[in-house]
Structures are given as C-alpha cells and as structure tokens.
Amino acid sequence: MSEILVKTEGLSKTYTMGKDRVQALSEVNLQVNKGEFISILGPSGSGKTTLLSILGCLDKPTSGRVIFDRMDVTELPEKELCKIRRNKIGFIFQTFNLLPYLSAIENVELPMEGTKKSRDERRKSAHELLSRVGLSGRERHRPNRLSAGEQQRVAIARALANNPTMVLADEPTGNLDKKTKYEIMTILARCTFSTAPKYGGLVVDQGTTVIMVTHDSDIASQTGKMLYLDDGKLKSHQS
C-alpha cells in the first residue's frame, strides 16, 4: 500500500477584503501518496492556486488542517515552515519566476543557500540538475537569453535543487507551446513513480510527488490522477 505524503482535512480558506469575504476553498479533503503525479483541474478563480499555496506552506488555511509528511503543518511557526519549504517542497510557476539578475546555474543554486552543502557541492548539484533538464552548456545564461521552455526547465531544476519530496507546479505549461508542454510534462513525470501510459518506458529516478494545477484538461489527462476543483470545492476525483 502506498504511503500518504499529504492529506488535507476540512480545508477552508476565506479572504477578507474590507467588508467583503471571499471563500476561496471550502471543506477540501485531499490525499496524495508519495511518488504520485496528480493534477488539479479547474477554471480560473476556482481556488487552485490557493490550495497549492496552502499545500506548499506559503499560506495558512482559515480552518481545517494539512498533514504533510506526518506533520500538521498548519500549526507550525514560520521558521519551521521555511525549513519545510527549503528541504521538502519545490515550486514551479507559470511565469517561471526566475531572478533576472542571476544566471541559470545561480538560480538553481539559490534554494541550496542555507543548507549544509558547500559552495562546490552546490555548484556540482546545480550542474547535474541543469544537465537532467537538458540545459548543459546554458548554465551561464541569464533568463532573458533563454526561451520560455528553457526558462521553465531552469525553474524545474531549481524546484528539484534540494531533492524535495513534493513539487508543486502552478500552471507549469501555461506559457508554452505544444511541443514544449510535452517536454516539460516528460521531465515532471520522470520525477515521480507515475506510470502514466503516455510516458511508458520512462525510468523512474526520483520518487517525488508532483501536484500540478492547470486549467488545461489535455495536460491534466497525462498525469496519474486528476482532481476537479470548482468554486473552492473538490467536486470529483478520477484515476
């Protein structure tokens, strides 16, 4: 039986803006196993990004709790959450969010700062990660000299820098063409235990859990599991 990595229980999030209250998430119960590659599908404003922020310890729920790696992270102080984000979680964003004044390799090294790795070890790891995402030889390039697909590869390498147990991807293919989308999905799938048919024959090399939010059903269908979020509520569940 697969081990549960992250589980939410009655997760709700309400944003208050003056007198207005917006219910972003409502009683979300979710369970994701280690090494799974799942997608959360839903229209804009359905609460996908809010759910990802809470799962990624960037935000706290209004009610309910998140159990991550057997810990109730909703009760942890910021200092502990920071450690979890650094050591166990990787983030990938639709707009890549690379630091423009750093080179590709420096962007990848950034999350390793504050770990016990030496400068040489950080540089070596970053080289290997960039090589894994197919960017050997582009290490010194700044983001503005890379294509959108290459920038997203750098972002994936950065997300994998500290060998996380979970990668959270927010519309990772949203800004990419069809061919590049497939390449990015391949790279993400290779991080997981996923045996999605479209990636048949791929070598499983990480065992990282990948949770991806998207509004692209075609992309979502290529993951092992799809969840549907609508108006802050998890509507259905499909394998």
Binding site: S53, G56, L58, D59, E78, K79, C82, K83, R85, R86, N87, I89, G90, F91, F93, N97, L99, L110, P111, E113, G114, R158, A159, A161, N162
Partner: protein, 414 residues
C-alpha cells in the same frame, strides 16, 4: 545612480564641513600666533629703544615718497645733526636718507583722477660709521648671502631678497641704481623692498648732497626723552617725532584692535561651528532618509521577488541579510563617490557651506584665499564609516519589513 550621487554629496558634506572647520581653526590659530609674535617683537623693540626719538620729514611713510620736482621741502639739511647733537642729554644722532624709486601713473575712478605711485625699491642711505652701526639697529641682521655693510663701504649695496627679483641679481653681481653701478655686497632675507647703502652714495645718486630725511636721536637717559623731543619739535616744527611713549600708545591701540578682532573672530568661529554642526546633522539625517526611502521603495518594487525567495526556502534572516547587504553596498558605492567629490570639492563646498571667518580685516571671500581646506585621511575614513553605518541603519527597517513579508501575499503582488 542618482541615489548614489546624492548619497555621495551627503558624504562630501560630511568631509568638507569638518575639514573647513579644521582649516578655519588652523588659520585662526596661525593668525593669532603671527599677531602675538608681531606684538611681542614690537614690545621687545620698544623696550630695547626706550631712549630713541625718531624724527622724520614725513609721517612714517617717507620711504614711499615719490620723486617730484619740489622734493627738497621733504628733506633736512645735514646741519640738523649737529644742531640736535648739541641739545643737552642727546647721546647720538643717526641720520638716514630714504628715497623711494618707482613710477607714477594716473587713474580715473568714479570720475576723479588719482595719481598712484608704485614703489620699485627704496634707497636707504645709512652712516657707515662703526661707532653707530655697531651700537644701534641701523642695518638688517638676517643676512642670507654675502655680507653686511661695514665702515668705509662705498658703491656697494645690500639688497633684500625681494629686491633680488626686481634687479635679477645676487651677491657679487653689479646693479644699476639711478644711473650708478653698485656691487651687491650682500642680501638680507625680507619681503621688504628697501636696499641699503652708504648715506653718501645715496645722497650722490639722488642729487641730494647734504640732505637727510630721518634722524634717530638717542638720549643719554630715558627720563630725558620727552624733554629732548619737545626741544627738537620747537626747532623743527614740520617734522614728525615719535618717542617711546608714542610707540607704546601705538602698540596699546594695536593690542586693543587685536583684542576686538579676536573677539569678533571667536564669535564668528563659534557661529561657524554651530552652522557646521547643523549642516552635519542635516547631512546625516538626509543620508539615513535617502537610504531608508530607497530601500523601502526597493523592497516594495521587489515584493514578488521576496515571495519567490521565501517560496524556494530562504528564511526571514536570509531575506533580511540580503536587503541589509544591498543597503550597505549602496552606501559603499556612495562612499566611494563621496570620497571623490569630498576630496576634490572640499574647498568649494566648505566655502559654500560655512560662514567666512572675519579675522584681521579679512572680509567675505577671504576664506578661500587664506584658508586651505584639505580633507585629511582621518576625516575621510570617519565620513566613509558614517555613510556605511547610516546605510546599514537606513536599511534596517526596509530589510526587516522584507523579511516579514508573507510569501503567499508577496507572490500575488504585481
């Protein structure tokens, strides 16, 4: 870049103002010392010549008398020597002939014509009699080249170091003075334009045979001075007589004037210090505020980046240190610019920012001419340290605010 230049200017003020104050203080001290020395020398000279009565045919500026056709009225006949010597209580009489050589030119100012006489040099004819030159202060003593005049010297001249520039000559050379050739026997160190020769030579080359322009009368006893002076005055009512009492009164007036100027200078200096202190406070506060606002703006502009940094695992401490370092780096760059501006522009900035010191008749504008503002290394290093410290302090709040940014909110910031 503009921020760095603005901070650099703040630092330049921190360098220039204390440098200006130090230069002011040094100049004031130097002037006070110089004045004290002058007063001291005068006192010493007066005490040394308590039996001297100076008799001049002009009011003390005889050496500047221009050549003019009616010059005879400005001179006494040599017979005056024996007349004065015959006065009871007179020990010695030393005659001089002082004669200014130069050019006159006419200038029109505010519709009026003025004749200005520019002295090239002043001939001082002295009696080269060893009984006089050995016992009284007749000749200069600070000989820089050659030797001094002595008894029996003729057709030789003792130039001042200032005269050597005019004549283009040095000891041993020959010079032409009013059509006669003289050998430069020596040079004395002075900014004065007086040259010394035998009184007979002076009378010959100026066509003033038998004439003198000044008598130094020495009394046997200082208690006789006033009596002798009044007798001389009765014989020669047109000449100017100065006794030790007159010289002491003159010295007293100089001292009073000096005290007044000193008080004035101290008051001005105190005001300058207050202004400098206020300007320094303004520069310090401005530096801190510039860094504070710049870094606050930077933090706001980079909110999303802070969110990304936190999302990828950087701690509050990491974020705070990063922004603190950026503030310090900004102030370091400003420090370098400030050192350049401060070192090169200190004289200008100091004269612009500090009220001019008003000592010994120096008015506005005299500061830059008389006070050299040169920042020293200690001030530069102190100002540099202050700017870096202010950079760190000014960045503290923005850096703290950056570190406290909630990552989810920051990620949503556009």
């Amino acid at each position: 870049m503009l921020i760095v230049i603005a901070l650099g200017f703040s630092m330049a003020i921190m360098i220039s103002v204390p440098s200006g104050i130090m230069a002011n203080q040094a100049a004031t001290t130097s002037l006070m010392e110089s004045y004290d020395k002058t007063i001291g020398n005068m006192e010493e000279e007066i005490n040394r010549t308590l039996t001297l009565i100076e008799c001049r045919t002009t009011s003390g500026f005889g050496q500047f008398r221009p050549e003019r056709p009616d010059r005879t009225e400005y001179f006494l006949n040599e017979s005056a020597i024996s007349d004065v010597l015959s006065i009871q209580g007179v020990k010695d009489v030393v005659p001089f002939l002082e004669y200014a050589v130069g050019t006159s030119r006419t200038e029109t100012r505010m519709g009026m014509e003025f004749t200005i006489f520019v002295t090239d040099y002043t001939i001082v004819g002295v009696p080269l009699n060893s009984s006089l030159i050995d016992n009284y202060s007749i000749l200069p003593t600070n000989i820089a080249e050659g030797r001094n005049l002595r008894e029996g010297d003729r057709e030789v001249v003792l130039l001042s170091s200032n005269n050597t520039n005019y004549f283009g000559a040095e000891a041993g050379d020959e010079v032409n003075i009013k059509g006669s050739v003289f050998t430069v026997i020596g040079v004395y160190e002075s900014a004065d334009t007086r040259l010394y020769m035998s009184i007979y030579d002076a009378q010959t080359i100026t066509d003033l045979e038998g004439k003198i322009s000044r008598l130094d009368v020495y009394a046997e006893d200082e208690s006789d001075v006033d009596r002798i002076a009044s007798i001389i005055a009765s014989i020669y009512p047109l000449i100017y007589i100065t006794t030790p009492t007159d010289r002491l009164s003159q010295l007293e007036r100089m001292k009073q004037s000096y005290q007044f100027m000193l008080q004035n200078a101290e008051s001005t200096f105190s005001q300058t210090q207050t202004t400098a202190f206020q300007e320094l406070i303004i520069a310090i506060v401005a530096t801190g505020l510039i860094v504070l606002f710049t870094m606050t703006y930077t933090v706001r502009e980079r909110t999303k980046e802070i969110g990304i940094l936190k999302a990828i695992g950087l701690s509050n401490g990491n974020v705070m240190v990063q922004f603190l370092l950026e503030g310090v780096l900004l102030s370091l760059m400003a420090g370098v610019v400030g050192v350049v501006i401060g070192s090169m522009g200190a004289p200008f900035l100091a004269s612009l920012l500090l009220p001019h010191i008003n000592l010994f008749g120096m008015g506005p504008g005299a500061f830059s001419q008389s006070v050299t503002v040169t920042p020293n290394l200690q001030i530069i290093l102190l100002a540099f340290g202050a700017v870096v410290l202010l950079g760190a302090l000014g960045s503290l709040y923005p850096a703290w605010r950056a570190s406290r940014t909630r990552p989810a909110e920051a990620m949503r910031y556009e």
